[in-house]
């Protein structure tokens, strides 16, 4: 995948790429430890359609990446919801700097709840976002992908 054409973030392909990258190099995540997080990403497109994808972390791997239907995000521990432009800016920032900087980490984006919202049906599920945050952040930073 070429980086110049990679910023179609509202696609299963991007998350599959991130998952493949993590699964190929679990040793990089060993230092953070095992993670157990079932999280959904919700992206509101300008045309009012919505892209939803669910990603499951287990041990040092991603076991599931799947596009989901409206409402199915509620079956996850928690989900992150934002306009597509926010997601695009986040991934662009990662690709530019190699990692998320400034206010472009998911924790920072959700902290104010303005640009991106952290939601969940259960506070315990929402707290998993905090418990496995660094793993999640590194997973997303895999979007600084190369062609290897």
């Amino acid at each position: 995948m070429q980086q110049d054409t990679a910023l179609r973030v509202d696609s299963v392909e991007v998350f599959d790429t991130l998952a493949t990258k993590l699964n190929a190099r679990p040793e990089q995540y060993q230092v953070l430890g095992d993670a157990y997080l079932d999280i959904a990403f919700v992206m509101r497109r300008p045309d009012n359609s919505v892209f939803r994808i669910r990603v499951c972390f287990e041990d040092l791997s991603i076991t599931k990446v799947a596009e989901i239907a409206e409402g199915e995000e509620e079956n996850s521990d928690c989900w992150l919801e934002a306009d597509l432009s926010v997601w695009e800016a986040m991934f662009a920032n990662i690709r530019e700097h190699g990692q998320a900087t400034g206010m472009h980490t998911v924790n920072a984006l959700t902290m104010r709840g303005v640009d991106m919202q952290l939601r969940g049906s259960d506070p315990m599920g929402v707290d998993r976002f905090s418990r496995f945050n660094q793993t999640l952040q590194w997973f997303l930073e895999g979007s600084n992908y190369d062609n290897t």
Binding site: N107, M111, S130
Partner: protein, 366 residues
């Protein structure tokens, strides 16, 4: 029916009764200990976990253990084993259904304040920001150790059959030592130093430490105090001047969220199995919320946070204080939502200024 070593009762008939120097020998462990034998736990993908070995009788945690000794749960315990003086002898006193999972998570996700923070990337900061970060780190390195001292105060009083809860609390003690370490290191690593320690922090810590029961203590510590600190760590992304502090807060946040997860589920377990405990939890939180409000609004901590949120002294009124109000709203909303999850609704009881903070109770009830 579980297999026991009774099956070897008649085996090994020729073993000696006395040692070569005449000491009597005991072979009962080989010839019929009354404990389960022949367990074969199934390994999980990551290895052999505490969940994996919670099999058969070894996985059964009694509601009221018959012994008061340090014998491992499931062993064949001598009748004359001495009483260790445990006072937390009911499962409802300490248990949480997620405690094995949290222990494994804690062990797997340990990190090093020496190695895993990119200290070499620290940059010289404007004096106001460096002072504010050092003040925050002074306060945090003070309050973090309460979450070591408090479990240490109670752990030796916990019945040893609740081993997994004690093991989890050991990881918490290590976590908090690391937090005290990382914040002390940050305060001393960039040309600054430790600043003010105010009475507000110690009042809150005293309230937590003096709790009359462990369940009150954990409500004050895990649900209230650590929930508050967890949200400060989450804010770390907003208040960190460099990637060094960001990493520091994010790593600490992960640990803190585990502690809150234990506390929330312990309180829930206690309330579900012993509803009489609710009132004592409420009474503790009545006091704790007031102490926390005093601590959270203490002039030194609140000004340091506002300064960091503003990115310096210049924008403190336009940006710092409004952001701080916004963060306080999120912080107390999270706390109230966790109380709901724990089965101790504070919505009708709390004396926190919810309307002043703009907290929508209907949103929390959902």
């Amino acid at each position: 029916m579980a297999q026991t070593t009774h099956d070897t009762q008649e085996s090994y008939p020729d073993l000696p009764d006395h040692s070569p120097i005449g000491m009597p020998l005991d072979w009962t462990w080989l010839r019929g200990a009354k404990s389960e034998w022949g367990v074969h736990p199934k390994l999980s993908s990551r290895g052999l976990t505490m969940m994996d070995i919670a099999v058969g009788s070894y996985g059964e945690v009694p509601d009221s253990p018959p012994h008061r000794s340090m014998a491992p749960r499931g062993a064949d315990v001598d009748d004359d084993t001495p009483d260790m003086g445990y006072i937390l002898n009911k499962k409802t006193d300490v248990w949480a259904d997620n405690v094995r999972e949290l222990y494994e998570e804690a062990v797997a996700r340990q990190w090093s304040a020496t190695r895993d923070i990119p200290w070499a990337e620290l940059q010289e900061l404007p004096s106001d920001v460096e002072h504010a970060m050092c003040q925050l780190c002074t306060t945090l390195s003070e309050v973090e150790m309460i979450a070591s001292d408090l479990p240490a105060k109670w752990m030796w009083r916990m019945n040893h059959d609740f081993l997994e809860a004690k093991m989890f609390l050991c990881t918490q003690i290590m976590d908090e030592a690391r937090h005290a370490e990382v914040f002390r290191k940050r305060a001393l690593s960039n040309g600054g130093g430790l600043l003010k320690s105010s009475s507000g922090a110690s009042s809150l810590l005293r309230t937590i430490l003096d709790a009359g029961t462990y369940t009150q203590a954990t409500a004050l510590l895990h649900l209230l105090g650590e929930g508050f600190v967890l949200d400060i760590f989450r804010q770390g992304e907003l208040i960190s001047p460099t990637a060094v502090e960001k990493r520091m807060f994010r790593m600490a946040m992960q640990d803190e969220a585990r502690h809150v997860a234990y506390g929330t589920m312990h309180i829930r377990y206690a309330v579900e199995h012993d509803p009489d405990v609710i009132e004592e939890i409420h009474e503790a939180l009545d006091r704790g919320e007031m102490a926390l409000a005093e601590f959270g609004t203490s002039p030194d901590l609140s000004t340091a946070l506002a300064m960091l949120l503003a990115g310096g002294a210049e924008d403190i009124e336009e940006k710092g204080f409004p952001l701080q109000m916004e963060m306080s709203k999120k912080l107390f909303s999270s706390y109230l939502a966790r109380c709901e999850r724990a089965g101790v609704s504070r919505l009708e009881r709390t004396q926190l200024p919810l309307s002043l903070l703009g907290i929508d109770l209907d949103e929390i009830k959902q």
